[in-house]
Amino acid sequence: MNNILLSINITLMYSAPLILAALGGIISERSGVVNIGLEGMMTIGALVGAVIAYYTQNPWLGFICAGLAGCALAFLHAIASIKFKADQTISGLAMNFIGPGLSLFICKALFGGTNTSPTVTNKIPKILSWMQNPNKNIWTSNLNVDSTILIALLLTFAMWYFLYKTKLGLRVISVGENPKAAATLGINVHKVRYFCVLASGFLAGIGGASCSLAIISVFSPTVISGKGFIALAAVIFGKWTPQGALGACLLFGFAQSLVVLLGGNESIIPSQFLSMLPYILTIIVLVLFVGKSVGPKASGEPF
């Protein structure tokens, strides 16, 4: 029982940043701009979040600023891929080099040459932080997840509502499916795409900050290490829908929790093997259930 709770706790912990970044991936790709640069935007978000929270002692301010930092990087991507119509894959890749490079540079400039930030004392609170001592009780202690997971769940719902129930959402989808048609119908394709790419950067940024302000409480260059790519996989895996990506992220987080719970000295399965489990699981589910891809038609096409 305790193990089940712990496993839920770990699953949620792992999924929160993935969900946030995946939502970013969804909104960008839904508008027709491939965003491979999630990883880089998450990294800069992780740095800026930690830095601001460290200086101001306000984790929420750090969280928001992380989103803005992600936006800033996304703006570069938007300029390159929307205005200059550069190849979106390569521009996204460039973000993945620039994001971590810049983060490291800023980190060193601020903290006397070290590549990790000082520890943030005021991290993002857990959901049960109003309770006296939630850690005392093994139940509450395991249910006491980061508030970022709550935010991620709320934003998933919001994104679903936005895409399928609002005017702007309809425009986003139509721009991603057939930008020419959208343009003839009076929609400003470039404006919609800029908006979506920036939103994507914001979401990836707070996804990054939820690593450096909730899961751990420092920035270090390896804090993201691949989460952006996993989020990207979740986007595709979830067929470009918020609910699908949520499922994919949770599945992935769950596989990770299995790795952690099964691993250790007495485990019969070698840990390298265990650590491949999430990916193997992912590809199996992919091949078995997902079948043909159904991405936005105009994804990747400049307009």
């Binding site: 129930k165 609002t166 005017k167 139509s174 048609a181 343009a183 929609i187």
Partner: protein, 506 residues
């Protein structure tokens, strides 16, 4: 001349549960042009795809030159001397003409290296023999549609095809190119080839084919000798009821000028002038038809009006309001609705449901969205009303993706949507391209109805018949200007229009 080149017997084909072909027979005598006629979605392309090995029938036999044939893939068909020119061209756009033709049957030395010299020579010889002029070195993306079609035909001849299948070869051609194509087909027949042609244009069937097989909803209706029937008789066989090939309409009652273009200049991306000071005026209650050969500025004219491209000079006015170089949205709001030429590229989002497609232009209206939240009930009701009023088939299709509708029904939805906007000016560009006769009749009828309600209508078409049938006033476009404007009455003949369209003076 009586031996049989192709015989298909009792063909059944199912797509899932849907029966696309039911017990269809086809007999084609060698050395003849055989046409296949049928509405959109009747199963013509499917039948031909089976003959070419692209689909496998659930039941049925095929005999080629009297011998039972097993055709499982295109390679088998090619070996049996069958060649097919597909409805949508099967060309690799950024390869050259030669490369496209030899692809899959390359002339190589013994190391697998392509011998371009020999290949080019072979193609030149072929193209001279049949009068199919092409530039072997040109890239496909740089040549005209007519030339692309010649490449497609050469592809089959190069493989030594004796039986040629042409699926709607004329849908994308200009009148001139159609005449040339018919010429070429006759030359091929003289050389002993057999041709199966699918077309919706009865005139072409009359001009070229000897026999005609009529298919309706997957069933064989009749096999007739073309010369025995009139166009009207052919049409009613195909649709299953009597159709009017020529629209009945009353004389126009034009009122004040509502839309005008003054001295419009548009440049293309290279900076060349494509419109060179074009003028035109359209009145309420009249259909203004723009006649012209493709490429004389029709595309630029429409894009400039709808603000999809920039006008470098001149004015475009509706209701005395200038709209040039604003936004597509502004154009819409100023009272102009457009039925675009390529419905897949411009008008529809194929994976959206019919209902969403029906409100793409109008979801801003308070009727469909409040505080930027969409009102799905209203949208659904609206789509239902359009489906009913415009007889969009199948019924209750408002939730299906529009991709699943036939071309005719897609077009109906677009027209319904644009008409619903209640525009002052309705622009229709090639509104009947690729549609069957029944659908064409409907489109034309709708245009006239809208005119009678007092709308101005701008019709752009490459089909002279359509222009002469439907319009009240005809403007001939040539080299970026309207060179001639005239009332459409008995004095207007195809020859006269053709003369002006080719740049003749007076």
């Amino acid at each position: 001349m009586s031996d049989i080149a192709v015989e298909m017997k009792g063909i059944h084909k199912y797509f899932g549960k849907f029966c696309a072909l039911q017990n269809v027979d086809l007999t084609v005598e060698s050395g003849t042009i055989h046409s296949i006629l049928g509405e959109n979605g009747a199963g013509k392309s499917t039948l031909m795809s089976i003959l070419y090995g692209l689909y496998k029938p659930e039941k049925g036999e095929i005999f080629i030159n009297g011998k039972k044939a097993k055709i499982e893939n295109p390679s088998d068909a090619i070996k049996l001397g069958i060649g097919m020119v597909h409805q949508h061209f099967m060309l690799v756009e950024n390869l050259t003409v030669t490369e496209n033709i030899i692809l899959g049957a390359e002339i190589t030395n013994k190391f697998g290296i392509i011998d371009m010299k020999r290949a080019t020579k072979a193609i030149k010889e072929l193209s001279e023999k049949y009068g199919l002029y092409v530039d072997p070195y040109a890239k496909i993306e740089d040549i005209s549609v007519g030339m692309q079609q010649r490449v497609e035909i050469l592809k089959t001849l190069y493989r030594g095809a004796d039986i040629l299948i042409l699926d709607e070869p004329t849908a994308v051609l200009t009148p001139q190119e159609i005449l040339e194509l018919i010429d070429i087909m006759k030359r091929l027949i003289n050389d002993g080839k057999t041709i199966i042609i699918i077309t919706h244009k009865l005139k072409e069937i009359k001009q070229s084919a000897k026999y005609c097989t009529v298919i309706r909803r997957g069933k064989l209706i009749d096999r007739v000798v073309v010369d025995d029937l009139s166009e009207e008789e052919l049409a009613s066989k195909m649709v299953g009821r009597k159709v009017n090939l020529h629209i009945d309409k009353t004389k126009a009652d034009p009122k004040d000028v509502i839309f005008s273009i003054e001295n419009l200049v548009v440049k293309d991306f290279r900076g060349l002038e494509k419109l060179k000071g074009l003028n035109l005026e359209i009145k309420r209650g009249e259909i203004y038809g723009v006649a012209g050969v493709d490429g004389n500025g029709q595309k630029e004219l429409i894009e400039a009006i709808t603000c999809l491209s920039k006008a470098s000079k001149g004015k475009i006015k509706i209701n005395n309001k200038e709209i040039q170089n604003t936004t597509p949205k502004n154009v819409l709001e100023s009272g102009i609705s457009t039925i675009h030429e390529d419905r897949h590229k411009r008008g529809l989002i194929l994976d959206f449901s019919v209902e969403l497609n029906s409100i793409l232009e109008s979801f801003n209206k308070p009727q469909f969205s409040k505080k930027s939240i969409l009102n799905f009930e209203a949208i659904n009701n609206f789509a239902k009303s359009l489906i009913e009023k415009f007889d969009i088939r199948p019924d209750n299709c408002e939730k299906t993706p529009i991709r699943a509708l036939s071309g005719g029904n897609q077009q109906k939805l677009i027209i319904a949507r644009e008409v619903f906007n209640d525009p002052d000016l309705l622009i229709a560009v090639q509104p009947t391209r690729g549609l069957d006769i029944g659908a064409i009749e409907f489109v034309h009828k709708t245009l006239v109805e809208e005119r009678d309600k007092g709308k101005a209508i701008l019709l752009v078409s490459l089909e002279l018949d359509e222009i002469m049938d439907v319009s009240d006033t005809i403007g001939v476009i040539y080299d970026g200007t309207i060179v001639k404007t005239l009332q459409n009455d008995e004095n207007v003949t195809e020859e006269k229009l053709g003369f002006w369209m080719a740049g003749g003076e007076n």
